[in-house]
């Protein structure tokens, strides 16, 4: 009975030599290929990807997935008796036409390939794109676009050609980073004493601040209301959140404790009689 059913399908022609049976076999091959690709990708992610760098793992995963899909597609076309050599010739001409019509898509694709080869930033790196005002963690460099998770948790998709041609500031390539804040002390305060107490309290309360290079204190300007001191400290690159947001707090407490005034903006007005 099933054989007779298949026999009847093989005699039902759709177009030319293409029968319902051959189309069914092609469909099974494609479906099998997709399922196999997904399983292979899943197994790779489960057993091998954790031991590889994330961007390498993602690239190999894509290679496995799309490789199996392409092989399945070739199996599908041969099961339909389609001569690919003819398609290749037509495809060449077609590609030129499509290329002109889809320049941005091709540009994104090529930029994506260059990004994968050049690797200006890796998966998981914290980067900033100053031209676009975007900063966050690089999640993925895809075929046509890249994804960045911004610090507010939202995800921004950036076309690869824009990503490739923009300035990329990496915040994680260096071993250490520098944080800096500006603080003003009154003109009556002893500058050396103020620096000494700030240095002491930064050492005692900020374990992530590097001792070499030492924290640096520069008298930036003699301002309208205060002597402005620029404080520079270095920290391990991943510990920005332990340093920059709390540096001013520590300095403020330190100056308060030592009785060193942080003046409000003030202006001395002389009247004509004086």
């Amino acid at each position: 009975m099933p054989l007779e059913f298949l026999q009847s399908l093989s005699e039902m022609y759709i177009v030319g030599e293409l029968t319902v049976l051959s189309l069914l076999i092609g469909g099974v091959i494609m479906a099998g290929g997709i399922i196999l690709a997904k399983i292979a990708k899943l197994l790779f992610h489960k057993y091998y990807a954790p031991s590889l760098p994330k961007d390498t793992a993602q690239n190999i995963s894509k290679l496995i997935y799309f490789g199996i899909l392409i092989i399945s597609f070739l199996g599908f076309t041969s099961s339909q008796g389609i001569d690919l050599s003819g398609i290749m010739v037509a495809g060449g001409i077609f590609a030129v036409v499509i290329g002109f019509a889809t320049q941005s898509v091709v540009s994104n694709l090529i930029s994506g390939l260059f990004l994968m080869v050049e690797k200006p930033a890796k998966h998981g790196d914290t980067i900033e794109l100053p031209d676009m005002g975007i900063s966050g963690t690089l999640l993925d460099v895809g075929t046509f676009s890249s994804k960045i998770r911004r610090f507010d948790g939202t995800i921004t998709r950036i076309p690869n050609d824009k990503f490739f041609t923009s300035n990329i500031r990496s915040l994680t390539l260096s071993t250490v980073r520098r944080a800096d804040v500006m603080v003003g002390i009154s003109y009556e305060s002893d500058i050396e004493h103020a620096i000494s107490v700030m240095r002491h309290d930064i050492f005692e309360n900020m374990p992530f601040v590097l001792q070499i290079p030492e924290p640096e204190f520069r008298i930036e300007e003699l301002g309208d209301s205060s002597v402005n001191i620029h404080v520079y400290v270095w920290h391990p690159r991943d510990d920005w959140s332990q340093v920059q947001p709390v540096l001013l707090t520590i300095i403020k407490k330190s100056l308060d404790k030592s009785g060193i005034e942080i003046p409000y903006p003030q202006r001395v007005i002389w009247t004509g009689k004086d």
Binding site: T175, R177, R178, F203, P207, V209, L210, Q211
Partner: protein, 253 residues
């Protein structure tokens, strides 16, 4: 096997192995630790330091054969694990004339590990620093290519018994100058994960290092290698996962 034993010189708990059949209290400088049996199959762990920071954990156990080991560990975990390297800045510079050698002892900061011993396996439970001011970072090299290290200014020690309990251990450093001119040494940077620690009561010693200043082609370098110390003190368990490090060559300034 020790129970709650105290060094005669102080009120703090000695390094060593403690039974955890019932409640147990350990005292360290600025830190108190308490294990409490909360059921037949579980203990609670409580630790408080001088800053009021509290750590609490529940420890499920399968059998009654549970022990605790208090032991010195490498100074790599506070305030966070970021590197395997240690940067020791000597309080006094050491001058070595041409083709000479010297042996010195220095204080090296340590941390204290609490290990759970179960079926002779040591599992890391917690780590403590009794002097947080010795847990600081420093950079050797430039910001883009330099090596991040745990940094400490260290004093020269007289011998292996000269360590400060719970805060530092003593390490021997052998310096050899094979160059044809004198050199001043003020610091040493090396991966401390190759150095084992040993304890006796509340004192600690570490495997030493040998620094060889030599010429390679046209560059003068200091080759730093670990040397094992021969002692009958107890070997501390390893806190970190086993990692392999190559030796480090410091540049000479």
């Amino acid at each position: 096997m020790k129970t709650m034993s105290n060094d005669s010189e102080n009120i703090f708990s000695n390094y060593g192995i403690y039974d955890l059949s019932d409640n147990l209290e350990l005292f360290l400088p600025n830190t108190s630790i308490r294990f409490q049996k909360i059921s037949d199959n579980a203990f609670s762990y409580f630790r408080e330091n001088s800053e009021g920071k509290i750590i609490e954990k529940i420890i499920p156990v399968k059998s009654d054969d549970i022990k605790i080991e208090l032991a010195p560990i490498r100074p790599l975990n506070h305030p966070a694990r970021r590197t395997n390297y240690v940067f020791l800045k000597f309080d006094k510079e050491i001058y070595l004339s041409e083709n000479s050698a010297a042996s010195i002892f220095v204080h090296c900061p340590i941390e204290i590990g609490i290990f759970l011993i179960h079926n002779s396996n040591h599992e890391s439970l917690d780590c403590i620093t009794c002097n947080p001011l010795t847990s600081r970072f420093g950079l050797y090299g430039t910001p883009d290519t330099g090596t991040l290290c745990k940094y400490a200014k260290v004093l020269l020690a007289s011998d292996y018994d000269d360590s400060i309990s719970y805060v530092n251990g003593v390490m021997q450093i052998v310096i050899e100058n094979t160059l044809s001119f004198g050199q001043t040494i003020s610091k040493v940077i090396f991966p401390i994960t190759d150095n084992s620690l040993y304890y006796d009561k509340s004192k600690t010693i570490l495997d030493g290092i040998k620094i060889t200043m030599k010429k390679r082609a046209v560059v003068n370098i200091a080759d730093v290698k670990t040397t094992s110390v021969e002692t009958d003190w107890v070997l501390s368990p390893t806190w970190e996962d086993g990692t392999t490090n190559t030796t480090l060559e410091m540049g000479l300034e």
